[in-house]
Amino acid sequence: MGLVRLQFQREWRLLARARSEALNPLVFLIMTVTLFALALDGQAQALSRYAAGIFWVLVLLSSLLSLDGMFRRDFEDGSLEQILLLAEVPFLPIIGKMLAQWAATGLPVVLMSPLLGTVLQLPPEALGPLAGALLVGTPTVSMLGAVGAALVVGVRRGGALLGLLVLPLYIPVLIFGTAAVNGLAAGTGGVAQIYWLAAMSVLAVTLAPFAVHAALKISLENG
């Protein structure tokens, strides 16, 4: 556990020192939400009907922005190879890194979601479900995204490729996430979808670090 904490603290310190970079995905999310509201003329009815789906799509897209840089800096300055070499169980600092990534990007989205949901004209009774669905759904996004990021870290202009690799894998999160919010808000169910999101997150948190570790080793061998 010490290694997880060590890495988490290091990542957190780095994020704090590159604050504007760390906040970019959140700012992107806020802006695109605004653009959607403007594009749909701010019509409360049309917006509120699709708000949950729109919001989830924007969350998935904005996650790509932060995921792309998640391993790149460490890859370029050489500290990534040191993690794999020096840590007795490289798995642990990698988990620390992924948790920090989620805490810095997933968690703020959860916290901001009532505000942004309101901007998208989501009815008040849907705001709680939205935050809840995001809380159990975004870990999957971070974990799967980290696998993609680890695969393309050595690839020039890997950002565009990252989207191609991970967006299809996000589809269940999108489907269950949207359905959970809409179902819970309308009182027609949706609890099952929350369970699905949670189960996927548990699965992703357990398995993704193995895949990330393997992918990082491959990317470093390439360098």
């Binding site: 799967l144 696998v147 890997g158 490729l161 191609l164 589809i171 269950f176 895949a211 992918a215």
Partner: protein, 252 residues
């Protein structure tokens, strides 16, 4: 047990594989040709008309084999990726290189034929409420991702293993994606007719089964062809390929 072990080691030898698979490739190609010819002619000309859809249902003789194959091909891809990652068996990488383009093409044909079928059936080319079409579309995205990843990484060895990781992650994800899409389409089920309804009389089903078998054989033929070509490319500096080359030149 010992026999299995020798087979395993032999499978890893490019030269042995190249030579042993030649008759298999020819055989599969032949069976594929016969089965597809029989199944297609039977299905298009002799099978009875559907009382609801008329003649347009006959596209299932193309559509269903392709869609089924698209999924099986991805399963094989994922398994090959697993073998490559765990045992570092280079032949598994050759198999992945061989399967991706075939799988991608098959998936694309499956999608296209599904759209063509949708036009007379639902009056629209694309129907989001059909679970099979939607999950085949996602499958196509997965294939494209694998293809793009291999192209993006210059060193072949790394590219192969990176694709293996992605294929295995995809393999774990596919049941979840499929379930979520199926659940989602039943939620939005508007059309009264679904393409997934598959209770048909034997006169209609028999040619379909023949065509599915033919499609699998065709797939096997194409994959073996690709694998053997890729082996020649990778081993072009070795003695056995050199000997093969002189043999061919002498033959001419």
């Amino acid at each position: 047990m010992n026999g299995l072990k020798t087979l395993w080691h032999r499978l890893g030898s490019p030269r042995w594989f190249y030579q042993m698979m030649k008759p298999w490739q020819t055989g599969l190609g032949f069976v594929a040709l016969v089965a597809l010819l029989v199944g297609t002619v039977w299905g298009l000309a002799f099978a009875p008309e559907d009382y609801q859809q008329g003649n347009s249902f006959r596209i299932i003789y193309v559509h269903v084999p392709m869609v089924v194959l698209a999924q099986s091909a991805y399963m094989m891809l994922g398994s090959a990726g697993f073998v490559l990652l765990v045992w570092r068996m280079k032949m598994a990488d050759v198999a992945m290189v061989a399967i991706v383009p075939v799988g991608m093409t098959v998936t694309a044909i499956g999608l296209f034929s599904g759209a063509v079928w949708g036009r007379p059936t639902w009056g629209t080319w694309w129907e989001w409420t059909d679970a099979r079409l939607v999950s085949t579309l996602v499958l196509l995205f997965l294939y494209v991702g694998l293809y793009a990843l291999r192209e993006a990484i210059p060193r072949a060895e790394s590219a192969g293993r990176a694709c293996a990781v992605l294929a295995v992650v995809g393999l774990i994800n596919i049941p979840i994606i499929k379930y979520s899409v199926e659940w989602w389409t039943t939620l939005h089920q508007g059309a009264t007719f679904t393409a997934t309804r598959m209770s048909m009389p034997i006169e209609m089903a028999a040619p379909l089964i023949v065509n599915i078998i033919g499609a699998y054989c065709l797939f096997g033929y194409l994959v073996l062809l690709n694998m053997r070509t890729e082996l020649l490319r990778r081993e072009r500096d070795t003695k056995w390929v050199g000997a093969l080359r002189t043999e061919v030149i002498d033959g001419v």
